[in-house]
């Protein structure tokens, strides 16, 4: 096995394993940490594909900004970090069956499909081309993304803001601790 394949499989294993931990970890803080690992692995894949700009963007935006935001959100939300979270419901069997079946179908169809693969190396200055395209042909999606972010921001503020003025508001309600934790707390205090 050459180094390229080896690197790919190591990265793939890293991504899949940490992605599984993200959805199975009972502690939301651990999930966030594993998400960082998974996203860094994806950045590694981009580097292997010579997509250096994408790799840098992935690290800056996902690993850097979004994960930090998520961890901040976890830390600032009271009592969410030490709460046990259930990840499954009674339909886990059916869910596994359907998603497994879908995975099999997708794998089969992709395996039997010819993809155009270029053996040329990536040209120097691909980032410059990308930048030029973003400001000429793709300037519209580029600009609309900022509108999307603005709209999402306004929406998030409206949803998250606590209404205090009128009868249309919800009074803040303390979230009761789960039974197991309440007991543990009582024991530690006594």
């Amino acid at each position: 096995m050459d180094t390229f394949s080896l690197a790919f499989f190591v990265l793939a294993f890293l991504i899949v394993a940490s992605a599984i931990f993200v959805v199975s970890s009972k502690n939301i803080f651990h999930s966030a940490i594993f998400l960082i690992l998974a996203l860094s692995g994806v950045a590694g894949l981009f580097v292997m594909l010579h997509a250096y700009f994408l790799a840098a963007a992935q690290v800056l935006i996902y690993v850097g900004a979004i994960s930090v935001l998520m961890i901040f959100a976890v830390m600032l939300t009271s009592r969410i970090a030490d709460k046990e979270i259930r990840h499954t419901n009674e339909q886990v069997g059916i869910g596994l069956l359907i998603s497994g079946g879908l995975l099999a179908v997708i794998l089969y169809s992709l395996y039997n499909t010819p993809f155009t693969i270029s053996d040329q190396p990536i040209a120097e200055g691909a980032g410059m081309t990308l930048g030029r395209l973003l400001l000429t042909k793709f300037v519209l999606p580029f600009e609309v993304v900022s509108v999307l972010l603005l709209a999402a921001l306004i929406g998030a503020i409206i949803i998250a803001r606590r209404d205090t003025k009128t009868g249309d508001s919800v009074p803040p309600r303390p979230i009761p601790l789960p039974k197991s934790l309440q007991q543990a707390k009582g024991e530690s205090e006594s």
């Binding site: 179908v105 169809s109 039997n112 793709f138 519209l140 999606p141 709209a151 306004i154 003025k165």
Partner: protein, 492 residues
């Protein structure tokens, strides 16, 4: 690359209506922020009027803008785009008029409600013009993300919060499915532009004499993604809960404008980009359309909440629209476009009746509509007209719309689909007629009458006029639909 001022102007000229509406949306939102700091704040009516001015100016601007393409062909302004932009703007117009009552009761964030509505309209206007999948995806996101918020706007209401949450989760999943399809398509054809995809699919077929299985997969994923956006069975699970929980004007907007925009996007993607691979997807569309008509109409019978009933009925309606899609030609596209126009007025009108009723009675239960004709004959008569149009009874618009899609399907050999359509229409007539019967009988319960507010009367009259005009004088509207459909197939 030198800067070309002529090209620059030509590019931005085609998109100025959207830019204007966007600026207007920001102005409305900012006005809401500043007015809150000064005492009582602006009244809902003032916001609504300013929003309406913006919408009307945009509608006129759209009508006056010359056809053209921009940004290297990724954005196109043609007759199809104009027609669907006007449908979307018409939907926004009626939504704004009918939201005055419900928004006034919200007390908080009233201005932002209209601002977000305009943001979502901008997304839909971009959606119907996009000929490039990246732009299409971002436009879809812009329109849905704002709708997530609007669906959950009555925060204190448990059902509204549930609606918002369900819509966010299922909307996210459907976007992921759609994107996966787009990615596969890009992987095989090397392009995200519809023209490039069309050529790429032709090359794929030339190379091996058949379509690779990956293409089928990509098409199915795209279809599922669109199915979610259109609330097509079996991807309609989110629709009844979201429709019930969201503020009713938003439900109306969701069921009309966002579906119309998605139909336009569907036409562009499937009738232009994927036209050559139609053998792969036409069967699937036929099955989905049949499922939507059966599931939507049968489930609607047992509903006791009028919003849920209309939700299932709109699942069925989108099934009828897609019956036209089995005819991948100008005639099929024409019939779908005409149906979208008829659907705009009929469904919007039906929801405005629901709003007018719940403004006074505070209820959405079908049983409470009993003997409505004694208390508010206006609502009862208008509601009956809209329901009859949805059922497809002449002389309303719904009859011709159904006739055209069925004709298109028969001409392409899909007789079984038309038979399913006719049978389910009978079922649909049953539950629409049940509501009508409830409203007019029994005659012996003269309770206190209530008037309909002036804005709602105007909105109802506009919708009713639309329904009857499209039904009685279809000529000019069919011409419009034909001109729009001709944009998809310049060769024919």
């Amino acid at each position: 690359m030198p800067f070309d001022i002529v090209q620059f102007y030509a590019d931005w000229q085609t998109i100025l209506p959207e830019c204007f509406l966007l600026v207007w949306a920001c102005i409305v939102t900012m006005a809401a922020v500043f007015s809150r700091n000064s005492g009582e704040g602006t009244s809902t009516g003032t916001y609504a009027i300013w929003t309406l001015i913006g919408v009307l100016v945009t509608a006129v601007w759209v009508a006056l803008t010359p056809d053209g393409t921009a940004f290297g062909g990724t954005f196109v302004f043609d007759r199809l785009a104009v027609l669907f932009k006007e449908i979307v703007l018409g939907g926004v117009l009626l939504t704004v008029i009918s939201s005055i009552g419900p928004v006034d009761r919200m007390k908080l964030h009233r201005g932002e409600f209209f601002g977000l509505l305009l943001f979502s309209a901008v997304g839909m206007m971009l959606m119907v013009s996009a000929t490039e999948l990246l732009l299409l995806y971002i436009a879809i996101e812009l329109s849905t993300v704002t709708l997530f918020v609007l669906a959950a706007y009555r925060k204190a209401n448990r059902k509204s919060a549930e609606a918002g949450l369900k819509y966010v989760i299922l909307g996210g999943i459907s976007s992921a499915v759609l994107l996966y399809g787009v990615a596969l398509l890009y992987g095989m054809t090397g392009s995200t532009e519809l023209a490039g995809i069309r050529n790429g699919i032709g090359d794929l077929f030339m190379a091996s004499g058949s379509f690779p299985p990956g293409l089928t997969m990509a098409l199915l994923l795209l279809l599922a993604g669109f199915g979610f956006k259109l609330a097509l069975a079996p991807f309609h699970m989110w629709a009844p809960d979201v429709y019930e929980g969201a503020p009713t004007p938003i439900t109306a907007y969701l069921s009309v404008a966002s579906k119309a925009a998605a139909v336009a996007a569907f036409l562009r993607v499937f009738f232009v980009g994927l036209e050559s691979s139609q053998t792969l997807w036409v069967q699937a569309v036929a099955v989905l359309a049949a499922l939507a008509m059966i599931v939507g109409n049968v489930t609607a019978i047992v509903q006791s909440n009028i919003k849920r009933m209309l939700a299932y009925s709109s699942v069925a309606q989108i099934g009828y629209i897609l019956v036209g899609a089995v005819a991948v030609n100008t005639w099929g596209a024409t019939s779908m476009t005409y149906y979208a126009m008829a659907y705009l007025f009929a469904n919007m009108g039906a929801f405005i009746c629901v709003i007018a009723f719940s403004n006074r009675m505070g209820s959405d239960e079908i049983d409470d509509y009993a003997a409505l004709s004694r208390r508010s004959p206006t609502i009862a008569v208008f509601f009956s007209i809209f329901l009859l149009s949805l059922a497809g009874i002449p002389p309303t618009a719904g009859f011709l719309a159904k006739y055209y899609v069925f004709l298109a399907a028969i001409n392409n050999g899909y007789l079984w689909l038309v038979i399913v359509g006719l049978l389910t229409s009978v079922i649909a007539l049953y539950y629409y007629a049940t509501v009508i019967r409830k409203m007019f009988f029994p005659l012996d319960q003269p309770e206190g009458g209530f008037p309909v507010s002036l804005p709602l009367t105007i909105a109802l009259s506009i919708s009713c006029l639309g329904v009857l005009l499209l039904g009685v004088f279809p000529g000019p509207f069919v011409d419009l639909a034909q001109a729009a459909a001709a944009m998809l197939m310049p060769g024919m």
